[in-house]
Every structure is written in structure tokens, then in C-alpha cells.
Subunit: 199 residues, 2 copies
DNA sequence: TGGCCCATGTAATCTGTTACATGATTGT
DNA sequence: ACAATCATGTAACAGATTACATGGGCCA
């Protein structure tokens, strides 16, 4: 799913401007995707050219003009097709976990702030979900799918938070001890047939 | 963290070829990143040109030649610096969750296979982690960081699995009922100042 | 007065994916 | 006979990030 399809999907919930879509992605879709203006605006232009969305310009007092985009019948069809055709890949890209993997190379203080920061981030994110559940906004908030995904997010983040809290100290102390005795085994099982000078 | 830095990191555990690194990323690093040959080989070439890794060619009988890469002192320094400088972003990109968000637009059977498939994937992944913990391989497997990350993965995946199993039926049934009464509220709070024909 | 919100867009750059090209060996 | 493993690479392409450019209103 690229930004174009993401925009189509968001527009199934109603008309919106590029600016609105960015906000929407940041809040409602933030658990599983992200997109910046640099990809949203070109995407909307292309979708308009393809006839998958229509666009109306609106003048506002004291604010810049807005372009309100609307999903066309063709756009809806394309989105539904894409939704069913896409292989449901779930991918995590985390410099946080990468850093933790190399705990033995990091100062304990850095490790600590890394984990504490992540816990705070998780708390903030879970808080936002809870608030969005409480606040009466649009009907979309109560759709089965959105409820399910919010629940999923909370469950997974809660587990992450619990794990981080429980194992935090263990990691920091054991990383410190391991640090003193460095090891460098070969990455592969087969014995290396040549040797390097720098060892 | 890009592929170049990822390669440097992997090479802190010992010398390896591009092919080895791919395997390594697929197994050990799979929880938080991924990389294909198309990025690994160019990355290694660039790192060699920059003097961050050194390279030795090895002839093998019955197998293609291998280029064994070795982290230089400069490379190690660059990696440590990058590791501490990087903002520890944790990002999820999931067409699976996106699809579930639009449960009201999908046939129940499709929804079911989506969730069942994901559960199977989680089981497989958790199984792989458990196996890698049991199998005695290199010392790296027992480093504090790798243990921590494996535990994290298992905890989070377990929570995801539990949630999916518990709410699966609820989603499928309630998505079906919502489907019959479509709604289209505006995406933003402010009332729209113009109207479209296609409604 | 400084910074954030609203609002749209372009252009350069970075990064990674996909497909192609080659080729011997081993297992089913 | 066919697929998989081992092994390295290139080139075209897709996709997204980043920085830039513009400009009024609002709040502390």
C-alpha cells in the first residue's frame, strides 16, 4: 500500500484536504503507516488526474484556500480491489531494538535513557488511543475495524511496556558485565579458510 | 539506520560475505529490519571504498567464490558513533492492520483468512525465536542484547496472537452487521462549506 | 517577537526493491 | 527433471524523505 492508496482509503470516510489527510494519518492511521506532505500532495494530484478523486477549491476567510478532495466511484472501486489484492505484510523497522541488540557496545546511561524514552513514548501513544476512544467525534471511530485496531495497539504496546519495565535493569547490568570480555566468533558456522591481520 | 550501517553492525560479530549477511538479517535481525541483495552488495562495495571494511576473496571447490568482509577499526568507530547518534525510531508498517481497519469493506471469509494467516505467521516466528535460543551456535546468541530482543519479540508477538484469537470472531460478526448501513461523515470536524454531487 | 497553526506545493536527494544475468552442486 | 542452496553483481525503477518556498492569523 502506497500513499496514493492510503489517501483513497482515508477518503472513504469523507472528503478531506491534503492537510486533513496528514492529520488523519498522524492520528488514526499512525499505528501502521505514516506519510508526509511531500508524498501526499503529489499523490492527490495524480489521483485527480486519474479520475479516482475529484477536487473542489474552497476559499476561506483569514486562512489559505483549501482543496477538498472527494472519492469518486472509480476511486472506491480501485481502493476495494487494492485492499483485497494486497499481501498483508506486517513489517517493523526499529532503530530502538537494533540499539538494544548492541547493548554490550553502549554505555549503561545511554541504554537507560533509550528504554525510559521508549516507555514514555508507549505511554503517550496508549494515552492517545484511550482519549480517541472516549472523545465523541465521527462515527468512523466506532467502526468494528477501528475499534479492533485500537484494541490491538493497546494490547501490543502494553505487552511491550511491561516487558521493558520488567527486564530493564537486567539488561543494563548484564550488558555492563559482558562488555568487559569482548568476543568475535565468525558469523557463519563453517570455519574460515583465511585469516585477517587486524584481529 | 540504513543498510550500510546495518552491515557494519553485523560485522561486529565476525567476518562475513554478502550472502551471509543476508541470512543474518533474515534470521537474527528480522524482528526489526530487512535488506535484500540489491542493497547489501552495493553497500559493501561503498563501505570498502570508504575503508570501513576490508575484503578478501576466497576460492572454494564446488561453490562460487566468496568475498569475506572484515570490519576495520575505522568501521567500528563509525558504527559506534552511528549507534549512539541515531534517534531510536520504532516504526510499524502494516497492510495487515490497514486491512483490518477497513473490516467493514471486506467479505467475512477474507477477514478470517487474513487473521488466521497472521496468527500462523506469528506462531512460526515465535517458534523460530525459541529454536534459535535452544540451538547452540555462536556466542553472540547469548549476548545480553540479543537475549533481550528475542524476549521482547516473543512477549509482543504473544500479546498480538492472544488478542487476535480473542477478538477474531467479534470482529468478523460485527463487521458484517456494520457493512449493511454505510456511513460517510466528513473527515474533519468543521462543517463542509460546499457539497458534492456524488453523495 | 517568536513560534505554532493553517495550507499548498516543488525539487533534489536518498534508499530500497525488483528484475535480470550467470552458473555449479546437491537433494527430491 | 526441477527446485533449492550457494554466490555475486548491475540497472531500472518506485517510493518516500527532506528541504525549500510562500504567507496570513493567532496566542503568549
Amino acid at each position: 500500500m502506497n500513499v496514493k492508496e492510503l489517501c483513497l482509503g482515508a477518503l472513504t470516510f469523507g472528503d478531506a484536504s491534503g492537510y486533513d489527510l496528514k492529520k488523519f494519518f498522524e492520528t488514526t492511521f499512525s499505528q501502521f503507516c505514516s506519510a508526509g506532505f511531500g508524498s501526499i500532495y503529489p499523490a492527490l494530484a495524480e489521483l485527480t488526474a486519474e479520475g479516482l478523486v475529484s477536487c473542489e477549491q474552497h476559499s476561506q476567510e483569514g486562512k489559505p484556500d483549501r482543496k477538498l478532495y472527494h472519492l469518486t466511484a472509480a476511486g472506491r472501486k480501485v481502493f476495494l480491489r487494492a485492499l483485497q489484492a494486497a499481501s498483508p505484510v506486517h513489517r517493523v523497522k526499529s532503530d530502538f531494538l537494533l540499539a538494544l541488540y548492541f547493548a554490550h557496545l553502549l554505555p549503561p546511561a545511554h541504554l537507560q535513557s533509550l528504554i525510559d524514552g521508549r516507555i514514555a513514548e508507549l505511554d503517550r501513544h496508549m494515552q492517545l488511543i484511550t482519549e480517541s476512544e472516549a472523545a465523541p467525534d465521527t462515527q468512523r471511530k466506532y467502526s468494528a475495524g477501528s475499534q479492533f485496531v485500537r484494541g490491538y495497539g493497546k494490547a501490543v504496546m502494553r505487552a511491550a511496556r511491561d516487558y521493558l519495565c520488567a527486564r530493564r535493569q537486567t539488561l543494563i547490568t548484564s550488558a555492563r558485565t559482558v562488555k568487559s570480555k569482548p568476543f568475535k566468533p565468525a558469523l557463519r558456522n563453517g570455519a574460515s579458510r583465511a585469516h585477517h591481520q587486524q584481529y
